[in-house]
């Protein structure tokens, strides 16, 4: 199997931002993401129209009361684009949490048990091989299969995405655990009489969680993309639930007829949300690597 030889970024340059005056420079890239989170919370109250009912004639061009126009059924595109942040972002948060937490736990257990003798080590090594093998199934296909068979709900969709994105988190944590487990402080803790699980949770976990946590913003972005792709393919949440992927796919036929707005605005929102997560990645990296952490 392909070994995990994906390059690790070289450590961030020593110029950590000074406290005080330039602290805002650290936090500035998190701004767009904060806006999206805010929108997720208040979306239902700030949108001018109900995102799930017909409020105007169909196919109105942008302008006037409907800033982004209306779609082919007469629902307000602006309200739907904003309201969709809720569905897409809540799902992404759920997925990121599930994938990262299970990834950390599995990676920790696998990393600690791999070198053990007997059945324990055999199972550990087998599981590691297996997480490598999961790469051979295209993520989107797993999503299509799970959602298609277990039904399109927020839960099944989130579990499917978490399953898809977890192996990477497992691999990152495992690699770090293998590095950390030989360190002197782990031996010291063991010799001080801590139980194996105490060593694992108190000493190995905090020191090996960083790669997975840094990667979690990546997981976040990917889960938005995959969830929108599933919606686009027609296996996501049922319309009229506002969701960017569904909005884009239902607007495609309008594009051919010149009605670009029903598709373009959700597509832009999707790009913006994913890039905001990418910007957040830089902030997280800087925070986890600054001295004192």
């Amino acid at each position: 199997m392909t070994e995990a030889l994906v390059a690790v970024p070289p450590s961030v340059t020593a110029t950590t931002p000074r406290r005080g005056a330039s602290a805002w420079r650290t936090w500035l890239p998190a701004g767009p993401f904060a806006v999206f989170v805010l929108l997720t919370i208040v979306a239902r109250w700030v949108v001018p129209f109900d995102p799930e009912t017909v409020v105007a004639p169909a196919n109105l061009a942008p302008g006037g009361a409907h800033a982004f126009g209306t779609d082919s059924t007469g629902m307000d595109v602006f309200s739907r684009t904003i309201a969709a942040t809720r569905v897409n972002l809540v799902m992404a948060v759920l997925v990121t949490l599930m994938a990262t937490v299970t990834g950390l736990v599995l990676g920790l257990v696998l990393g600690m048990n791999e070198a053990a003798g007997g059945v324990r080590g055999l199972v550990g090594r087998g599981m590691t091989r297996f997480t490598d093998l999961t790469d051979a199934v295209p993520p989107l296909i797993v999503g299509v299969v799970v959602v298609g068979l277990f039904g399109p709900s927020l839960v099944s969709l989130s579990v499917a995405l978490a399953l898809i994105l977890m192996p990477n988190q497992v691999r990152l944590t495992r690699a770090e655990v293998l590095k950390v487990r030989g360190d002197a402080y782990v031996d010291a803790a063991r010799m001080a009489g801590l139980l194996p699980w105490q060593v694992m949770v108190r000493h190995v976990l905090p020191n090996s969680a960083r790669p997975a946590i840094e990667n979690s913003s990546n997981v976040f972005g990917v889960s938005i993309i995959v969830s929108a792709s599933l919606g686009f393919l027609g296996v996501g949440l049922n319309p009229p639930t506002p969701e960017w992927g569904v909005m884009i796919s239902s607007g495609i036929s309008d594009v051919m007829l010149g009605g670009w707005w029903t598709t373009l605005f959700p597509a832009i929102a999707l790009c913006a949300a994913v890039s905001s997560a990418a910007l957040l990645a830089g902030v997280i990296t800087r925070l986890t690597r600054s001295p004192g952490h």
Partner: protein, 347 residues
């Protein structure tokens, strides 16, 4: 062990492991499909006018779901070793044919896209190696940061709106060729087949319709590749082997090749992973441009509860990905002998 075997152990063992991986995967696919809740046979039996146990048994037989799960497993395996993936109860055609009639066009699109990415990444690497301007380097590194941060189909839609609706310079996204044209079929790869049969009008039509989807694939997916390559380059560009090469008076080209060879391991792995991801992921682009491909088959199978089809699709795609991973490992072991198992490296 004879010296011959010892010398060739690195690729022999890796080759022997490949069928094992595929076998594990095929078995997993078999059980995965059977984990589905509910009774899939009931969904296919026409129960509106009542049905007899014989009807049920026939439907189960058709779906390969008769007998105990171990009997099914035995049948699945004895058929699989002769490349028989069963017959789809929905379309009535062998699944192997169904998948193989769609897979080549998807492979063609993905391969062309990845080829473009490799070329672009190499060009960027060459620029990085041959200039010293720090600002340019920052810009190039910034492009690598876009990895995974851009949804390809959203970009494709922006492209469609701009080039099809506003500028009207590309044909309608309604398939590979004009609906009035027929595609030649020799080995299944649309573009290659048209070249083989000398249908240059079809080649032109396909190229015109490939320009936008391929540029989107290249622009969106190159950063993942470029990021790995640029990290490798920054590690290797001033490493002792490079300095030795320069000091010994090697030509510029030879120095570049040496740096690239040492820097590319992780990007080759990334390339394999991208191929795997795109074989399934490109379905969104295919849908958007009306191409149709193997991903569509999977979605239809799921929608129509075609288990035989779904299981066959999973086996074929996984085998293809495992084959690519195998090639990736071989390429890396050829490029860098230190990556071969059992080789001891000092330092």
């Amino acid at each position: 062990m004879t010296p011959f075997l010892a010398r060739h152990r690195w690729w022999l063992t890796r080759t022997l492991v490949l069928p094992l991986h595929i076998a594990v995967f095929a078995s997993v696919a078999f059980f995965l499909v059977r984990l589905v809740p509910g009774d899939p046979v009931m969904a296919r039996v026409d129960a509106s006018g009542g049905f007899t146990p014989e009807d049920y048994a026939r439907a189960a037989e058709q779906m390969g779901l008769s007998g105990s799960i171990w009997e099914q497993f035995g049948r699945f395996w004895s058929a699989l070793i002769t490349f028989d993936l069963g017959t789809s109860p929905v379309t009535g055609r062998p699944v192997w044919e169904e998948v193989m009639s769609r897979l080549p066009s998807t492979i063609e699109l993905v391969t062309l896209g990845l080829l473009g990415s490799v070329v672009l990444a190499l060009v960027l690497a060459l620029i990085t190696l041959s200039t010293r301007r720090p600002r340019l380097h920052t810009v190039l590194r910034g492009y690598g940061k876009l990895a995974g941060a851009v949804p390809d189909f959203a970009v494709a839609i922006l492209g469609l709106v701009l080039f099809y609706v506003v500028l009207q310079v590309i044909p309608a996204p309604l398939g590979r060729v004009d609906p009035r044209m027929s595609l030649p079929d020799v080995i299944g790869f649309p573009l290659l087949d048209s070249v083989i049969t000398g249908r240059w009008d079809v080649v032109g039509a396909i190229v015109a319709r490939y320009v936008l989807p391929l540029s989107v694939l290249v622009l969106v997916h190159t950063p993942s590749l470029w990021r790995q390559l640029s990290l490798g380059l920054s590690e290797q560009v001033a490493a002792p082997p490079t300095l030795f090469k320069v000091a010994s008076g090697a030509t510029r080209l030879s120095v570049y090749l040496s740096v690239l060879r040492r820097a590319c391991a992780s990007s080759v792995v990334m390339l394999g992973a991208m191929f795997g991801g795109l074989i399934g992921g490109v379905v969104v682009i295919e849908e958007l441009f009306g191409f149709g491909g193997v991903g569509r088959f999977a979605i239809t199978s799921v929608e129509q509860l075609d288990f035989v089809g779904l299981q066959g699709f999973l086996v074929v795609v996984a085998a293809l990905c495992l084959l690519v991973f195998f090639l990736v490992d071989l390429v890396n072991m050829i490029l860098d002998p230190r990556r071969r198992p059992g080789v001891r490296v000092d330092g």
